[in-house]
Symmetry: C2
Subunit: 220 residues, 2 copies
DNA sequence: CCTATTTTTTAGCCACACCTAAAAATGACA
DNA sequence: TGTCATTTTTAGGTGTGGCTAAAAAATAGG
């Protein structure tokens, strides 16, 4: 038994949902994985057992799954590849930030350590991807230490600056683009009402103290 | 039924062996496909029937298989992608010409028309890949009209200039590199004895009239 | 032209990754 | 605490793409 595209995608989902739940000791529910992967629960049940046999995840039946250290390390290398490829597609090939996720979802599975190293160097070792999300380094460390919160959790009346947007939320990326908002844009009460509320959880912001300062927008 | 990595690889093999046999009406034997794909004959038998159902190949049992026009067109688009990616890996990422085939074998299956278009433009619409092999254009036409013959078929005593080397023959690429030979190098009797005879069929040359002219070597 | 060898296909098996339907465990709450 | 709704797993089935062993067709030699 070895790597495969599907196993890698399940691993990555387990990492992503675990992070969202607050760290490496969080248990992730089968149903949540199934929803994220657009697959039925029994498929996840089966795959999670495979991940356990591979030593990549721990599975407590009827309770959930979480990554082992080696699984986490593999997941981080997939996230790294995904975000490096997205950076390449936007910075070098000129794609829009809303067009690259599906392609990177394929490219991340290309198996070549040398390729990732050269790509990273070619892009000048970027620290964040086109959606503002941090790119783990070759050791799996995330050096980016910004503290971001979902716009949906920003106190009413407060302002925030967009630090990142979930890359798999094409709709939200579109909405921002249509409103001339992007990474670095500052969000006030007006923008909050303009942007559909369902998307607020996918827009990650830093609280913005002085609402009078000039918004430092980097057009998307 | 739709595309898949394996079906695409079989299609590409059918194209490659058909070309080697002299064109689009050549029938390719099951065993030859199996040898090329490093798979057993029954697997090819099954796959060839699938290709027929997909309308990509014609199969006459106990006789062989060949591409339909639509299969040929798909195969050419795969060859195009493979060679564009190899060009990217060598020209932009600095890989050696003997390191890129296996990676391109994966990259060629990435499914995005837009990506191929942008990659082609990014590379300034190259006409040949790092191994000298022509890159079909977006319509599947091969504009490169050089007439190349295997070194093994060059008359004894004649000279030849290297026009291309089969990209899947890593050993041959290595041998050339070790002898400081590459695309454009001129091969005389001395080089022919130096290079192992088994590799001669994979080195494609144009006959070289004036053996006294300076060899126009492009270092590999 | 008939037999022996080679080539190819068919038959039957397995692993992977998905599905639906049914069973089992959990947890909420009366 | 007992029941019930929800979640999860298990059971059983499908399609893909491999394999080996056996059968069938083609080819070659005497
Ligand atoms: Mn993926
Ligand atoms: Mn991203
Ligand atoms: Mn391939
Ligand atoms: Mn090539």
């Amino acid at each position: 038994m070895a790597k495969s595209t599907n196993r890698e995608d399940h691993l990555k989902a387990l990492y992503a949902l675990g992070e969202r739940k607050g760290g490496s000791d969080a248990w992730v529910a089968t149903n949540d994985l199934a929803a994220h992967l657009q697959v039925k629960a029994p498929s996840v049940s089966g795959m999670v057992q495979v991940l356990q046999e591979l030593g990549w995840a721990e599975h407590r039946p009827y309770h959930g799954a979480r990554l082992t250290p080696s699984g986490r390390s593999l997941a981080l290398s997939l996230v790294r590849k995904h975000r490096l490829w997205e950076t390449f597609l936007v910075q070098r090939l000129g794609f829009g930030w809303d067009e690259v996720h599906d392609i990177a979802e394929q490219l991340e599975h290309i198996d070549s350590v040398e390729l990732v190293q050269r790509l990273d160097a070619y892009l000048d070792h970027p620290e964040v991807d086109p959606h503002g999300e941090p790119i783990p380094n070759v050791h799996g460390d995330i050096l980016d230490k910004r503290v971001l919160m979902p716009l949906s959790e920003l106190p009413a009346g407060a302002w925030g600056q967009i630090g990142a947007v979930q890359d798999d939320q094409g709709q939200v990326l579109d909405q921002l683009q249509r409103n001339n908002l992007g990474l670095g844009s500052v969000i006030g009460p007006k923008e909050r009402t303009t942007l559909p509320a369902e998307g607020h959880q996918y827009i990650l912001v830093t609280p913005w103290e002085n609402a009078d300062a000039r918004p430092q927008t980097s057009a998307p």
